[in-house]
Amino acid sequence: MSRMRLRVAGPALSALARLLATPVAGRRIAEQIMRQKLLDRLRRHSLPDSVARPVIVFRAGPKGPAGHGDA
């Protein structure tokens, strides 16, 4: 929980934005921040194949509007 207490503002925030904009070091630092704050936890989260369901990102043959409302 303590990791969720980060606060950056003022000139420090502007400096961080400039730092993250640098091509190599900036990218690496941004990735570290993202991993520490979110991605490590996501990647550790157990989601066995037996319970995972495919995510629908595309649906072929959509049906038309139901005919109600004011379309």
Partner: protein
């Protein structure tokens, strides 16, 4: 004229839609007079120290045309709806024809040629679009900071924020500048700001209101929703804004809503027998102030006193939902604006620059895993509604926080305040289920919101319980420190 018999607001409260309709019908005032008073009040709100900054820009000439046509209709006794002549503000991330859109940024967006679909619905109902409400830059933020236009102030205490990202939409309603505003919600941005200012904020079911014309922050999380003074006005707005659009597949699955009179009649129904799950373990969550939990417990008692059947429920883990939501936000945001943001990156605030740089590191595999966990969360919430009609929990984990000087000038990334603002709202952006925040008390001068969550398409059930909470009188309206509504109506 039965359709205009909206429930009146609290006698001493801010004017709601019914009050505007009554004043126009009686000839006491006209939509043109109300518009001019609204424009003057907006100007005055920004001349105060500190400025309210609820509104980014007004569209005076367009609004005057709409108000003149509305005045003519009222004169003929032929209003289009209970919203005819009512001044409404639109969050700046939404297209209004002929009015510059900035999405809370100083980027150069093309001038919109058409109204976004919900704006067109409001106009077709006779509403007068007054202008664009302030927001966090591109909608990414939970505390309402905007370094470009100034941060919207909380009318109850101008040293505090209104939450985000729909900061101006909430501030304007609470300050009495308009009785209704259109906002958007990708992680709680309708409900949390409404809770922070003592207003009603409704996030309908995903697909209920078309998003054509919204500068989308997150494809799978964003929703439109109204902010108003009462559940009755939220219901009238919902019926107005909802539509099945032939060119918007997202809207096709929705069942029809009744007309406004039918929706209001539904809100008047007793809640006896309604099965309400109280998420009492949330009251002890580390990101929820225990004093907020006490207010929600009182709200539960009020629902029980009105005849609801309460059950204690455990909702899916809030921390997992927050983690999943933030990963999706990082990956999807800002899905529809990538080109313009990349080309004008240097014009963005430092806080947004940092968030965008970090979000680039979510891989496709991370994204799909987050979506799969999201499906599990959604299934768990759906299972709760096999036994329940509603779930009651806090809207936010804290009351409105203090605006800090360093944040006002340079922006801020404040994980703790942000996570407390959205930890209770984010789950319903993952599920797409409807949820409404209704004021249920105060801590000091600052309002507390109770969140009522319903299964898909049951917005009116949530609003019916919300109306019961309003009748219970847990939150009595007090004139906020910044209030200009009495100059308008």
């Amino acid at each position: 004229m039965a359709m205009l018999d909206l429930a009146a607001g609290q006698a001493d409260g801010p004017p709601g839609l019914a009050d505007f309709a009554r004043a126009y019908r009686s000839g006491r005032t006209s939509p043109l007079e109300v518009l001019e008073a609204t424009l003057a009040a907006i100007g005055e709100s920004d001349r105060a120290d500190p400025p309210l900054r609820a509104v980014i820009r007004t569209c005076d000439e367009r609004a005057r045309g709409e108000a003149a046509r509305s005045a003519e209709r009222w004169k003929r006794g032929a209003p289009l709806s209970p919203l005819d002549g009512v001044p409404v503000l639109i969050k700046d991330n939404t297209e209004v024809a002929g009015v510059p859109i900035s999405n809370g940024t100083v980027l150069d967006f093309p001038l919109p040629a058409a109204d976004a679909r919900p704006v067109a619905r409001l106009v077709a109902a006779g509403a007068v679009i007054v202008g664009k409400a302030n927001q966090c830059e591109i909608g990414a933020g939970a505390t309402g900071i905007n370094v470009h236009f100034g941060s919207a102030r909380n009318p109850h205490d101008p040293t505090r924020w209104c939450g985000g990202s729909s900061s101006g939409s909430a501030s304007a309603v609470a300050a009495g500048l308009v009785p209704l505003s259109l906002a958007t919600d990708a992680g709680g941005s309708v409900r949390a700001p409404a809770a922070f200012v003592g207003a009603v904020g409704l996030k309908p079911t995903f697909g209920r209101i078309s998003r054509i014309g919204m500068s989308i922050l997150c494809d799978t999380l964003d929703h439109y929703g109204p902010i108003s003074h009462s559940c009755a006005d939220a219901a009238a707005a919902l019926v107005t804004l909802a539509s099945v659009e032939r060119d918007d597949e997202e809207t096709w699955d929705q069942p029809p809503l009744p007309d406004i009179a039918g929706a209001l009649a539904a809100l008047d129904q007793p809640i006896a027998g309604l099965r309400v799950g109280v998420a009492s373990r949330v009251f002890a969550h580390p990101r929820v102030d225990p004093a907020i939990g006490e207010h929600i417990a009182r709200a539960a008692d009020a629902l029980a006193a009105a005849g609801a059947r309460l059950a204690d429920v455990e909702v899916p883990d809030l921390d997992t939902s927050l983690m999943v939501g933030l990963v999706l936000l990082g990956a999807e945001g800002p899905s529809g604006m990538e080109e313009i943001l990349e080309a004008q990156h240097h014009k963005l605030g430092a806080d947004l620059q940092v968030l965008l740089r970090c979000g680039e590191h979510v891989t496709a595999r991370d994204y799909l895993k987050a979506q799969r966990i999201r499906q599990q969360i959604r299934q768990s919430w759906r299972a709760l509604f096999d036994q329940l009609d509603l779930v009651l929990m806090p809207t936010t984990g804290q009351v409105a926080g203090a605006l800090r000087k360093d944040a006002l000038k340079h922006g801020e990334i404040d994980e703790w305040s942000s996570s407390r603002a959205i930890v209770c709202t984010f789950p319903q952006n993952l599920t797409g289920f409807p949820a409404v925040s209704v004021p249920c008390g105060r801590i000091g001068a600052l309002p507390v919101g109770a969140q009522l969550i319903a299964p898909p398409w049951q917005e009116l059930c949530a609003l019916r319980a919300g109306a019961a909470l309003e009748r219970a009188g847990l939150y009595r309206w007090r004139r906020p420190e910044r209030y200009l509504g009495d100059r308008i109506l």
